[in-house]
Amino acid sequence: MKVAVLRFPGSNCDADALHALRRDVGVDADYVWQTDTSLDGFDAVWVPGGFSYGDYLRCGAMAARAPIMSTVRDFAGRGGLVIGACNGFQVLCESGLLPGALVRNVKQRFICQNVVLEPATQRGPWMAGVNRTITLPIAHGEGRFVCSPETLKELQDNDQIAFRYASENVNGSTEAIAGVMNATGNVLGLMPHPERATRDLVGGTDGLLLLQALKMVRTG
């Protein structure tokens, strides 16, 4: 298993993801620069958190149009594993790989704290191993998940809701949604940071319960 950690100007969780994958998850990982167009040799894609292009337009909107994202779209279309955390989730929504959008937190403030997440399903490669609530850090100003009533119904009907905020709906997301998947379940986006919770020393190890998915998948 080799994970491509994308890097855009303004990404700031790219190194965290790379280190967590190599050191704690125990898989191979390397950076892929935003202007590259190949994912040859990679088995999964990590779209990292941060402020790609400063998030000066809508969060993730510029990065969604970077050359590498066309390749990621093809990769996902072929069933490849893709995960986006925080700004990565925003990029995936902006690039059409995931439904819905992420807007300003209901309290209008950036929030950095731990949250308890309830898995809403165990469908698909990402969620199969997540059999209990997990605690992960969040750090975002624009993490309120919103979507149309039709999209919400689709998400529910297709079992695409991955995580809900369990204790408090910290950012005011629709249906307390913290993470969603595409219809086929190979693309996951979530606002919390699993890469910040892979060792006891820092943030606990609940992130590993999710990221172990990367070791379960047959590669080739």
């Binding site: 402020f51 950036f110 020393l201």
Partner: protein, 756 residues
């Protein structure tokens, strides 16, 4: 621009004598651009003309100015081939005028000081002071304005720090009416560098290309450094064009591009363009390297091509660097910056004659020796004058204080904005980016990070107490230094380096200069005794407001001490709370303490509960402080401590309350006569501010081992235990008094202050 008149140079902040000195050094009248550049380089902000003689009290500073020159911050080796750098910097005046941008660019500036040395910024801290935010303490409009400043300063720090990807791990904020009109915003950054990869800030090598890196230059911040070097007046808002605008996205790219470009080995020297922008970087890099530079301003990336040479040289546009590369290798640097979407242009070359020659549209704008800008700056030693009030303060007698209901006083202290929960502030900061924060805000006496590439932990904290410094500046300097080191020890770290943020009023006033001189002496003294060097710092003078009626309000003298300490193993760090299990509590204090004014002079309790701001604080026992700095980490390394917390603002009762809240359980402490000997008042035991007091928790079975190892300079007393109840009880045997609260009540008070 017209001819140079006295009115012109006076308006730029130069005195007649300084102008005369300049023309004498130059042998002629300066050109307009030369005068503008000199006015910023000779401002206090850049030239340190009032502070240099006093800063020479710091051994490292003295060594640096006599030796290789001042780099942006000193590098302290911590083993594993790594060095730590740290620096604090003020952005007070910009933040008073435009709080969001002022604070944001303060963060940006201090981060650049760190990565320009080749270090990766790994932690941010901040130390803030505002006027009162409590209704009734000042008039309504002032309180509202102070709240506005607090809210927007915090938003600015969050907006910049969160985007740039450096965790904001610790800080402090205090409130006092004396900061209304002139808030203090000091930002600190900690960086890590491989000791064999430290970048130089000297220009070297005749003919070497000089490269401009980063954002284009605009008209923002022209004369910002001079602005920082005068008092604020009620017209301060007119200075808004002097405030720079930050772009944290550009800064993030600049960090990555700079560190990547340094890895190529093509860079000879590099410096950020902070205060005074191109002026500072060109003249300082030249002076440091003993070389000159030829620079063509037509090549500088500009936001507006109509900018004059004067405007380009004086702009303080943010997120810019200046580098000198090896000959023929400039393209390697340029390519890295282009990859990150940043301008990178050769604008000149290094010469061997020590002169700076700058042209715009083919006309000479500057043609003079580099060292006039730096070494030519005069220094002044004001004669310090001890104010009469200082002696009166020492004569203060705490018997004048009426002791109120102690249980109520306890809650009042918990809800005082200086003590109360800062959660609404630090929740707005990303304190976990870089995924290495091993002790987050609110959990311990200092933050701890566990950086990639080492098993060591770095503890860091910034601290200062202006109430104490106002009362006794020498004690204030010592106390701030002792407290920040004690905080590191409380999480298990051994202090290795200090940085000082020195915020004072107008140094031309002998009493202010006295405050400054005494405080610096106190810091230097403590630093020397502790053998923890002050490796960097910042001086901010003229922190006062002039009112239309001619009156002036100057801030409390406010030295802020930042520090970094090392834990051999990051995972051993401890906080101030314990989990489930049986834990006993011990109180440690210096042996044979002599209490000055019962520890109540200039205390938060005397001020906020009794309405008395008189008296002086106890000076710290520096030998006991060192013993503490060594003993606590040694206990932590042996796995014997579960939690530790020092006694400071609000005294022992506040310390115990915070330990109980962090543990989410009650505790019972009984102090017998041996512990309280010398203290004759119950409020002096509960709320007195006794330097060197620490409470720690340990597993019941390790009691023998813990107590037996106590060094001679310290006395340790088992005083109680964490309980299974929710009651927090402090019983004073000798004085026949018991203070009791529940964890919930304390927490309600702690969270009631409504900070944001």
């Amino acid at each position: 621009m017209g001819a140079i008149t006295p009115d012109l140079y006076l308006s730029m902040g130069l005195t007649h004598e300084e102008y005369r000195l300049l023309t004498e050094q130059m042998g002629r009248e300066p050109r307009m651009t030369e005068l503008g550049m000199i006015s910023v380089m000779w401002s206090e902000h850049c030239g340190y003309k009032y502070s240099r003689p006093v800063l020479a009290y710091f051994a490292e500073y003295k060594k640096a100015i006599e030796g290789e020159g001042l780099e942006n911050a000193g590098v302290v080796p911590i083993g594993d081939g790594l060095g730590v750098v740290l620096k604090v910097e003020s952005h007070n005046h910009p933040s008073a005028v435009e709080p969001y941008q002022g604070a944001a660019t303060g963060v940006g500036g201090i981060i650049r000081d760190i990565f320009t040395m080749g270090a990766r910024p790994v932690a941010l801290l901040n130390s803030l002071r505002f006027g009162s935010i409590t209704p009734g303490q000042e008039d309504g409009a002032t309180v509202a304005r102070n709240r506005h400043l607090l809210e927007h300063v915090v938003a600015g720090i969050a907006g910049y720090g969160n985007c740039v990807g450096v965790p904001t791990v610790a800080g402090e904020v205090n409130f006092h009416p004396r900061y209304s009109g002139n808030p203090l915003v000091n930002a600190m950054c900690v960086g890590l560098v491989k000791t064999d990869e430290v970048a130089s800030a000297s220009a070297k090598g005749t003919g070497n290309p000089v490269i401009y890196l980063g954002s284009a230059t605009g008209r923002d911040g022209i004369h910002g450094a001079s602005f920082a070097s005068v008092e604020m007046d009620e017209e301060g808002e007119d200075k808004r064009p002097n405030v720079q605008i930050g772009d944290p996205f550009a800064e993030k790219s600049l960090i990555e591009a700079t560190l990547e470009a340094l890895q190529t080995g093509a860079i000879v020297g590099i410096q950020d363009m902070g205060a005074a922008g191109l002026t500072c970087s060109i003249t300082e890099m030249s002076a440091k390297g003993g070389v000159g530079m030829v620079v063509d301003l037509d090549k500088v990336p500009l936001r507006d091509p109509s900018m004059t040479g004067y405007e380009i040289m004086l702009s303080e546009s943010q997120e810019r660097m200046l580098a000198v590369s090896h000959p023929g290798r400039e393209q390697e640097v340029i390519e890295v910056f282009q990859k990150w979407g940043l301008p990178a242009v050769v604008i000149g070359h290094v010469t061997d004659d020590g002169w700076v020659r700058i042209t715009r549209h083919g006309h000479t704008e500057v043609d003079m020796p580099a060292d006039i800008f730096t070494d030519g700056c005069p220094t002044y030693y004001q004669t310090p004058v001890e104010p009469a009030a200082f002696l009166q303060r020492q004569a203060w007698n705490p018997d004048d204080l009426m002791a109120p209901d102690l249980n109520q006083a306890w809650l009042t202290l918990m809800s005082h904005p200086d003590v109360a929960s800062k959660e609404n502030i630090y929740r707005q900061y990303d304190h976990q980016v870089q995924a290495h924060t091993a002790l987050v805000p609110g959990v311990g006496d200092a933050a701890v990070i566990a950086p990639e590439g080492t098993s060591k932990g770095l503890a860091t904290k910034i601290d200062g107490n202006a109430r104490w410094t106002m009362a006794d500046p020498f004690a204030g300097g010592q106390l701030a230094t002792a407290e920040v080191c004690r905080n590191l020890a409380c999480v298990g770290a051994r202090p290795v380096a200090l940085t000082d943020g020195l915020n004072f009023g107008n140094p031309q006033r002998p009493e202010v200069f006295w405050q400054f001189e005494r405080a610096v002496r106190g810091i230097a003294d403590a630093s020397e005794v502790f053998r923890v060097p002050v490796v960097s710092g910042n001086v901010s003078f003229y922190n006062e407001t002039k009112y239309a009626d001619g009156s002036t309000l100057e801030i409390l003298p406010t030295p802020m001490m930042g520090a970094v300490g090392v834990l051999e193993r990051a995972e051993q760090r401890i906080g101030m709370g314990v989990g489930a299990g049986n834990y006993r509590l011990a109180l440690v204090r210096p042996t044979g303490t002599e209490y000055v004014q019962q520890g109540l002079g200039a205390s938060l309790y005397a001020w906020s509960v009794c309405g008395n701001e008189d008296g002086v604080p106890c000076r710290p026992d520096l030998d006991a402080e060192i013993a503490l700095q060594q003993w606590l980490p040694s206990l932590v390394e042996r796995g014997l401590l579960a939690a530790a917390h020092d006694v400071t603002d609000g005294g022992l009762a506040v310390t115990l309350a915070e330990m109980a809240m962090a543990s989410d359980r009650g505790l019972m402490v009984v102090l017998n006569s041996a512990v309280t000997e010398g203290l004759s008042r119950a409020d002096a035991v509960a709320f007195g501010e006794h330097p060197g007091w620490v409470v720690f928790a340990y597993a019941t079975e390790s009691e023998q081992e813990v107590l037996a190892s106590c060094p001679g300079a310290l006395a340790v007393y088992p005083v109680g235990e964490m309980t299974a109840t929710q009651d927090v009880v402090l019983h004073l045997d000798e004085l026949g008094t018991t203070l009791t609260q529940t964890v919930d009540k304390l927490r309600a008070a702690y969270q009631r202050a409504g900070i944001l």
